[in-house]
Symmetry: C2
Subunit: 328 residues, 2 copies
């Protein structure tokens, strides 16, 4: 006998419920905002075959669904408060699937300090669809906006770019010649990067303190950078040789140079791109270093109306066939 | 050429964006909470064929998706602040469909004072899925909970029960003999009730002032009342003869008495069920009357551990084969 929605909530979701959030069995939840804070809200929806693959494990899907939302909070400099879960579930996914999904979600809810406030679970005859709305807090008036870069700002990126893009390429084109030539460790690194992002919430306080503008990179480094800079009406110069790449991506690109473009435009990085005023640059670098958080300066924002240019080491311009991956 | 997600947002969704909400093109939104207020959040997800039918018009689907969420706020005594929209859209639905969807959503956003803060639009190979998270405000500590009824509380319901349940029955069983015998006006009344609910947000302030507990009726009057009362550990006596029915439902029940059970258990009413302390009863009734809002006393909450009993006019107990409609 399938569980009723009430029983399902009590069994699987109550263990990760926020204290004081009305306990999941009400029509709504209450969320308390810290004193002097402003509420930051983000919503990312994940659909099977579009954002994850049918054979991905339930725990991986759950964690990814929450983490891509947490990544948006990190980019805004916000601290997680909690989330609402919308789950449209095919009837073929039974109680074991749900138990694994919920267990992983609970782990991440604890890790990131982001408990469940409520939500809705419904049946679908279509693909599994996970719709999470996440809540965070920033000091009032201190959210880091996407479209606030100014000319002369230094452009930084957290972590490394392109691991996930090569990981998903491996899933879709498993017979590509470069894959077999890569070491097993590098293959696993790339595959894992696609499965599960590591949002940069541990850098959120520094982003909030130092960045003038920021966004998380979800649709590809080149395209997202262009959106952030052009959206502010500016140009930029990006030094492609500076873009941080993992040993796995470097090894793959050495085997097949076309993968460089894939890495820079492929999406699902969930790193944060920041525009930092020049006077904050050295403090930014030392604060990230003090926390052992990787941060790389990759360019500078140019003047109003200028172009966004991606420069190779020989100062010639690189043009990408496709700037970003569109989930839409 | 299909619109990019950016263009789509600018064209269809920007016109209903909340001022000060970052303007939809950021990773996240900012929501300001009125002074002294507490944030109320609710999320209802609607899936084609489960919550609406494939030939429903885009404007009807949009309005229903927002209104079922607004109904949750009404039941909590909360005033709408805004919403986040998650839309998983089959590629077969083009720009005209989206324009109609957005236009209806904008109308309701204005009518209910509930602007758009942000969201996510994604592609799906499955059924259209709309996931809305709605935000509201109540004075701090004054949310009306679902599971707070006390013994002796009067039980009230807004509006009428069962119109939508008979409306959807007409859709699924168009050849049922009673339908042809009903007047055209009554048929339209029932069909419209299923298509588009009218959430009781205009009663929210009175609910907040007078009710000890409340919930909106989405899964059937009998089942939802039982959930609310049993969830508080109580029993109740409900006078079935008092349950408010529209002329259309009365006419249908006269043609086919089995429809009475359908009306009371069929769901999608989006009326509010309230438990009111006896000392508030007369003020509640006169305040609703002053605003010309229909309110009917349908029973009383009984003692701890007692049963929830539905009594017919002859004082015999009515047992329902199925207490509620499960969307899940």
């Amino acid at each position: 006998l399938p569980l009723s929605e009430f029983d399902l909530i009590a069994k699987h979701f109550a263990p990760m419920a926020a204290p004081g959030g009305l306990g999941l069995l009400d029509d709504a939840a209450i969320l308390a905002l810290p004193r002097g804070a402003e509420l930051v809200i983000s919503k990312d929806m994940l659909v099977e075959t579009v954002h994850f693959l049918p054979d991905d494990l339930p725990g991986v899907i759950a964690a990814k669904a929450l983490r891509v939302n947490l990544s948006d909070l990190a980019a805004k400099g916000a601290k997680p408060l909690g989330f609402m879960l919308g789950l449209a579930k095919p009837k073929t996914l039974g109680d074991d699937w749900l138990a694994a999904f919920a267990a992983a979600l609970k782990d991440d809810a604890e890790t990131y300090g982001c408990p469940l406030y409520g939500g809705d679970t419904v049946s679908t005859e279509g693909p599994l669809t996970v719709s999470i709305t996440v809540f965070g807090a920033v000091p009032r008036g201190r959210i880091v906006r996407r479209l606030a870069t100014e000319a002369g700002d230094h452009l930084y990126v957290t972590g490394c770019i392109g691991d996930s893009a090569l990981g998903v390429t491996m899933r879709y084109h498993p017979d590509a010649p470069w894959i077999a030539k890569l070491s097993a460790e590098h293959r696993k690194w790339l595959a894992d990067a696609y499965l599960l992002p590591w949002p940069r919430n541990n850098a959120a306080a520094l982003i909030q303190r130092h960045a003038r503008a920021a966004m998380d990179i979800s649709d590809g480094f080149a395209g997202d950078l262009t959106k952030m800079i052009q959206g502010a009406g500016l140009g930029a110069t990006v030094e492609l040789a500076q873009v941080p790449l993992s040993p796995a991506v470097l090894a793959a690109v050495a085997l097949d140079p076309a993968l460089f473009e894939t890495a820079l435009t492929g999406g699902d990085d969930y790193e944060v791109l920041m525009a930092v005023p020049p006077e904050n640059a050295s403090a930014t670098e030392s604060d990230f270093a003090a926390l052992s958080l990787r941060l790389t300066r990759i360019g500078v924002a140019g003047l109003k109306g200028a172009a966004v240019r991606f420069l190779k080491a020989d100062r010639s311009e690189q043009h990408f066939a496709k700037m970003s991956f569109r989930h839409f």
